[in-house]
Symmetry: C2
Subunit: 636 residues, 2 copies
Amino acid sequence: MAIEDVLNELKSKIVDKLPKGINVSSLEFEGPELVIYTTDPKAFADNGDIIRSIAKDLRKRVVVRPDPRMLAEPEEAIKRIKEIVPAESGVSNHYFDTDTGEVIIEAEKPGLVIGRHGSTLREITKHIGWTPKVVRTPPIESSTVKDIRQYLRSVKEERKTILKGIGRKIHRPISNKDQWIRITTLGGCKEVGRSSFLLSTPESKVLIDCGVNTGAESNGTPYLYVPEVSPLSQLDAVVLTHAHLDHSGLIPLLYMYGYEGPVYMTPPTRDLMALLQLDYIEVANREGKRPPYESALIRETLKHTITLNYGDVTDIAPDIRLTFYNSGHILGSGIAHFHIGEGLYNVAFTGDFKYEKTRLFDPAVNQFPRIETIIMESTYGGMHDMQPARRDAETELQHIVKTTLSRGGKVLIPTFAVGRSQEVMIVLEEAIRKGIIDNVPVYLDGMIWEATAIHTTYPEYLNVELQDMIFHKGQNPFLSPAFVRVDSSQKREKILQDPSPCIVLATSGMMNGGPVMEYLKMYGPDKRNTLVFVGYQAEGTLGRRIQKGWTEIPMSTNGKTEVMKINMEVATVDGFSGHSDRRQLMEYVKRMEPRPERIITNHGDENKCLDLASSIYKKHKLETRSPMNLETIRLI
Amino acid sequence: MAIEDVLNELKSKIVDKLPKGINVSSLEFEGPELVIYTTDPKAFADNGDIIRSIAKDLRKRVVVRPDPRMLAEPEEAIKRIKEIVPAESGVSNHYFDTDTGEVIIEAEKPGLVIGRHGSTLREITKHIGWTPKVVRTPPIESSTVKDIRQYLRSVKEERKTILKGIGRKIHRPISNKDQWIRITTLGGCKEVGRSSFLLSTPESKVLIDCGVNTGAESNGTPYLYVPEVSPLSQLDAVVLTHAHLDHSGLIPLLYMYGYEGPVYMTPPTRDLMALLQLDYIEVANREGKRPPYESALIRETLKHTITLNYGDVTDIAPDIRLTFYNSGHILGSGIAHFHIGEGLYNVAFTGDFKYEKTRLFDPAVNQFPRIETIIMESTYGGMHDMQPARRDAETELQHIVKTTLSRGGKVLIPTFAVGRSQEVMIVLEEAIRKGIIDNVPVYLDGMIWEATAIHTTYPEYLNVELQDMIFHKGQNPFLSPAFVRVDSSQKREKILQDPSPCIVLATSGMMNGGPVMEYLKMYGPDKRNTLVFVGYQAEGTLGRRIQKGWTEIPMSTNGKTEVMKINMEVATVDGFSGHSDRRQLMEYVKRMEPRPERIITNHGDENKCLDLASSIYKKHKLETRSPMNLETIRLI
Ligand SMILES: [Zn+2]
Ligand SMILES: [Zn+2]
Ligand SMILES: [Zn+2]
Ligand SMILES: [Zn+2]
Ligand SMILES: [Zn+2]
C-alpha cells in the first residue's frame, strides 16, 4: 500500500470517529506524529478526549494543528493570551511558528498556562487558532537551552521537511516476510566507553547510542565501518539513552558519514548532549588535538533530534516502537524499550542506570508492558562492587566538610558537570539550610553551573520529592544563595586569594585538566584543606594517583614543571555513584516485571560483565550472555 | 606497496636464489600461484629442489612456465613425449594451452608420465619447452569429467584474465590495522541443509559453502541478503567443503548476484559438484518447478573454480591461507582449514566428516599444524546416535542379499548417487568375488554410474588399501563385470521384465522420485524380494513411510492414482553413513591435535547440536557454542 493510501485510509477512520461537522482539511506524517490539519481547531479543542481515543485506537501519536487560514495575527494573539492566562504564570516570551501553527509560550510556571488537563491551553487555542506549546522559562538561564531553542526556530522550515520525510519512512509498508531480530555489538562490550549497538530486523535498522572513549589512545570509537551498519544512510533511526559522551560522543559524526535520519532522546538529554559535545570539541582544541567534528555537526544533530518524554510510545520504523523509561542515572537518562512487530518481541537497553532513589531521581524503572531480553550495564557488576548506602555517604560528606571548615580549611570537590555535581549540591544545600555545616559559599566552577541550569529547566525529570519542593513549596534548592557561579578567571583568582573557608565544586571530575587544577595548586599545600573524591577515578588519571597516596605531583605552570607537595587531607566518599552497585544490579533483575527470558551484560570491564552474567544465571536461572564487541546475537 | 613493487621485490629475491645465469623473463600472480616465466625451462627443470625451496621461503605456491618463445611446435612436442614416456603409460590425448605454456597429457597411468619425484615430467619439459600436466584417462569414461575439461579449455583465455585479477587481489597489501576475526552463520545452524558461513577479518571476507535445503518449502536458502555478505562482489573467496547440494547447491547463484571471484575446492569436488548441480536443475524441471538457476551459471562457477589438493597451503586473501584436509565423507570432501594473519589464528570448518576408516576413504584428519576453533557437524550428535560397526553392517547386508537371492528374490537398494552407492558397490563386489553371494548382475540405475566414473578418475582420493588394489594389484573393484549400467528406459524395462535374481542400486536414496520408483512398482508385490535401506530416510519421504511399516502405497501411473501393496521384505542396515556417529564425533574431538580452544557445532537438528556441544564441554572441558543462523561470533 502506498503511503498516500495509508493516509487516506487513516483520514476516513478519523472522520468516522469525529462528531459530524468537524472538518479535517488534511493529514500528514511529521516525524513519528500523525498531524491533523483542521479549520475547526476550537471544535477539536472542545473534544480533547476524542483525540486521545483516536490516538489510542490508531496506536499513533496524533496532534491537531489549525489550518493555516485559521490563525490570528500575532499581536492579536498575544493580547488574547494575556487575557486568558493568569498573570502569576510569568509568561516571558512568545514564538510564532507559521509552519506548524504553533505558538511557543515561555512561562515561569507552565502549569498555569496549561491548566487542569490542558483546559487553559484549549481555551487559548479556541481564541487564537494557534496551537500553544508551553516551555518553562528557565529559573536559572541556561545559554545552552536558549541557543538550542533559538537554533531550532531558525531552521524550522528545513526541519519540517525533514520530519515529513521521516514520517513517511516510518510509516512505509512492511516489505519483508522473514522474521528475525538481531543485536550487533559495536562498542561498549566488556569495556566502558564507546557504547553502541545495532538492533536489526529484516525491515529496519536502529542504532542505539554512539559513544566515544575520550581517554583511549586507540579503540576509542565504535566499529562503525563493519558491513552491518554501512551505509549509515540505511539506518532508520538512532536512539540515545543519555547525554554522557560514552553514549553520545560520536552521534554528530554519523551526519558526516551519510546518516540523515532522526535521533530520538528525551528533551533534557538533547540539551545536556549538546553541552557535553561542545565541551568535547573545546577540550580537544584546548589540548591541541584535532577535534572529532566541528560544532556545525552538533547543530546538524539537533536539527534531526526528535524528543520523546518518558512513556511516549512512538513508531520509529515500520515494525518498531520505542518508549523511554526513567533510568535514574542522570537528568533525562532513559531505558530504551523496543516493541518489535505486532506483539512479536520486546527488548530494552538500560543504558546506565541507578536502581535506588537518589536526591535527584526516582530509581530506574524495571516494570514494562512486556520484555523478553534486556541489555544491562555492569559497571559495578563484580562480586565485591558494593557501595555504602547513600544516607551514610551523605553523613560522611557532611562530616568531612564540617571538620574541614571548623579548622579554617577549604573543601575541594572535583566532579563532572552532569550528575554528581547536582547530587552533591543538594546535600550541601540541605546541610547548610539545616545548620549542619556553616553557611559558607559553595563555588561552582567549570560547566557545573550551566548543567545545573539545564536541570532547573526540566524539574519534571527530577524525583517526586524534589518536584514537590520546587512546585508546591516554592523551594528550589538549586536557587539557594549559597551557590556562587565562577564564570571568569578574575572571579576565580579572587576566590583563590580569599582566605576564608569555602567549598569548591570544580571540573574535571578525575583531575585531568579543567579549573579544578587551579584550586588544587592553591589549596594543595595547606593541610587544613580537604580534597574529597565523590566519583570514580580511572586508572592513569591524576585523581587516581592522589587517591592512591601520591603526595608529590609534577605540575607545569607557564611551561615550567615544578613538583607540588600535596599536604591537604585526601578523602574518598563512595556511594554517590549514578550507577547501580552490584546489589542493585541483582535486585533490578530479581524484581523485574515481567520476568525476561534473557539478559545481556555490557558496559563494564570484562570480569564485571562475566561475573554479573554468571551470577544472574546462577541466582535467577535466566539465560545470560556477555558478548564481545562485533558479535551478533539473534533474539528470535 | 603497490602490487608491481611486490612483484619486483619477489623477482629480485628469486633471482638471488637461482644459480647464476638462469633467466627469469617475468613474474605474475595467477590465482593463488606465483608464476615464473623463463626462457630456461630446462635449467629450472634440472633444479627442481630450488623451486621447492623458493616456494617454502616465500610461503607461496610457485610454478615455472616457459617463456612463450621457448615452446616447440605441437606436432614436434607430441613426437618427443612419445619417445620419453613409457608406452605402458597409455597416453590417450594431448591438449596444448598456448597461454600457460602447458600441455595436458591424458594418460591411463599418470604415475608413469610423472616419473619418480617428477623426473619424467622434467625430462619432457627439457625437450619440448611446454610444461606438462598429467591427468588420468578415466578408466570408466565420465561425461561430466570430459565435458568439464573441454569447457575449461574452451574458456582458457578468459580464465587466464580472471586468474590474474584474482592473483593481484590476493596479494594486495594489507590496509587495515584493526585485529578481529568473525564468523557469521548464514545457514545450516541447528538444522541440516543450506550450510553457509562467512569468515571475516578487517581485511577479507570468505564464504564457506552455500548450500540449499532442496526439501524445504521455505527457509531453504542461506541468508545471503543480510548486510554482512552484501554486496557479494566484495567477497574475496568462496570455499566449498564438498559436493553435496546442502553445501554446494547455491554457489552458481552467487555469480548471478554479483560475485566474480574464485571458488576453491578439491578437483573431485568440482566434478561431483557440477554433476549434482546439473541434476538439481534437471529434477526441478522434471517436477515442473522453476529451476534455481540455468546451467550457464554452473559453467560460470566452473570458470571461476580453483582446485586445490589436500595439503596445498594456499593464499586466498592478503591475510588468509586455506588448506584442505581429507574429511572421509565423500570423494574429495575436505575440512577447510584457515590460517589467518601471520600466526594470528587458525580456524577450521569440518563440513561433513566421517571419523572412521571406510571402504572408500581414510578417516577424517584431526591433526593440524595449529587450530584454535573448529566448526564441526553434528548430524549424529545426539546422545543415542550410535551406529553399528561397519563390519557388522557389511555382514548384515551380505546376509540379507544372500537370503533373498537364495529364495529367488531380487534386492532393491535405494541410494544417493554419490557416496553410499560406491561403498555398497565395493562390499557387493567383494562378496561376489569371494563367493559369499551368488554371481548375479548388480544393476546401477540413475546417476550412480556417472558418479562412480568420477570416483575412478581420482583414485588418489580413495583410501590406501583401495589405491593399493587399483595401482599395484591392478584390481579396480569399480570395473568388476558384475556392475551393469542402466542408461536407457529400454534397458530398464528389460531388467524389470527379467525374472532372474539380481541386485539393483537406484536413485533417489529416499524414494521421493527417480528410477527406484519403477523398480519398487515391479518388485514391491512379490514377497520373495527385499528392499534394503542403507541411508537415512528423512521424515515425510516415501522411504521413511515404508521403513515405518506402511504396506499400502498410493502410486500414480499415467496420471491415475492406484494403491500398491508392498509385500516385499523391508530391511534397514545402519552403519553405512558417511557421517560420524556420536561416538566418532566425541573421539574426533578427544584425539584432536593440537587441542583446540573452542568448538562450534552445526549441521544437525537443534537438539543434536546442543547435545553434542554440551557433552563436549562436559567431557573435554572445551568452550563450545551452538549458534543459531544469523549470529556473529567473534573468534579474536
Ligand atoms: Zn552515563
Ligand atoms: Zn556510560
Ligand atoms: Zn555431505
Ligand atoms: Zn551436509
Ligand atoms: Zn540378518
